[in-house]
């Protein structure tokens, strides 16, 4: 690996690796947390990672309309806001009916 690859400059690959790291941490959280709110936090982290990638492409990659990546990122943020509101409402509603938000115990569909 040439020395300038790591610290002397920001290349597209560096930002993409950052996005990949955040995405895999998000997967880890979303798949392993016991609390429904914790799962949602993982999902939000994954959406953020995707946004980082989109912004990086907008900044670095040849495109006829270079701002499209940022437009997409804003759409993703909008959808994330809607998703967070509905998911948290779901968590509260589930708690009201089942007295728990532990996703191990929310298993009505299993029977």
């Amino acid at each position: 690996m040439p020395p300038d690859l790591l610290l002397a400059a920001i290349r597209l690959e560096h930002v993409l690796v950052l996005g990949a790291l955040l995405f895999s941490i998000g997967i880890l959280i979303a798949l392993s947390k016991r609390n429904a709110v914790g799962v949602l936090m993982g999902v939000e982290l994954m959406l953020n990672a995707v946004n980082v990638t989109l912004i990086a492409f907008a900044r670095f990659v040849v495109s006829p309309r270079p701002l499209d990546g940022q437009v997409f990122a804003i759409f993703v943020i909008t959808v994330a806001a809607a998703e967070a509101a509905v998911a948290l409402a779901l968590a509260v509603a589930v708690y009201r009916h089942r007295e728990t938000v532990n996703i191990d115990e929310i298993d009505l569909l299993r029977w």
């Binding site: 953020n48 804003i74 943020i77 509260v92 728990t100 938000v101």
Partner: protein
């Protein structure tokens, strides 16, 4: 490729902070601590946007993620029982870690294997006005769909959380 020393240092500092606080979200035992670390991670991502000269998206990120979604998360945590506030893992912890590691490995391989068409254009100027123009010219339909989606989400959230017998709700 950005070679300005200050920006490169800023990118690495912010990036390491972001990833570290994201890891702390997975690691800490208290759910409120996890939310606070998540906010730190969101702010770090906003810093990355600033480095990549996306100033409007960065500000929107702070306003929506760090300001609004974190408040929603805090609300949800406080509305659910104290006993579930341990940020503990299910039995899927080890498979999830393996899967996350595999996803990371595959993406990193793809990232370094692909021949990206790198542009030579410099950083963007002020993006707010051109973003607005983009929203109202080529992206007008998705923009309207997004607003419909927000209204639907709002109505859905209210309908889900409304208690029975309150204002004649179902």
């Amino acid at each position: 490729m950005i070679t300005d020393t200050g920006i490169v240092v800023a990118f690495y500092v912010i990036g390491i902070t972001t990833v570290a606080s994201a890891l702390m979200v997975a690691a800490v035992r208290d759910l409120i601590h996890a939310v606070l670390f998540l906010v730190l991670s969101f702010v770090g991502v906003a810093g990355i946007y600033v480095v990549l000269s996306a100033d409007f998206v960065a500000v929107a990120q702070i306003l929506i993620y760090a300001g609004a979604i974190s408040v929603l998360l805090v609300f949800a945590v406080m509305l659910t029982p104290a006993g579930d506030r341990r940020n503990s893992e299910t039995a899927f912890r080890a498979p999830a870690a393996v899967l996350a590691g595999l996803v990371l490995a595959v993406t990193v391989f793809v990232i370094y294997d692909t021949n990206w068409r790198i542009a030579s254009h410099g950083q963007f100027g002020a993006t707010a006005a051109s973003l607005g123009r983009a929203f109202f010219k080529p992206y007008i339909v998705p923009f309207e769909v997004a607003s419909v989606l927000l209204v639907a989400a709002m109505v859905g959230a209210i309908a889900l959380t409304q208690e029975e017998g309150e204002d004649g709700a179902a």
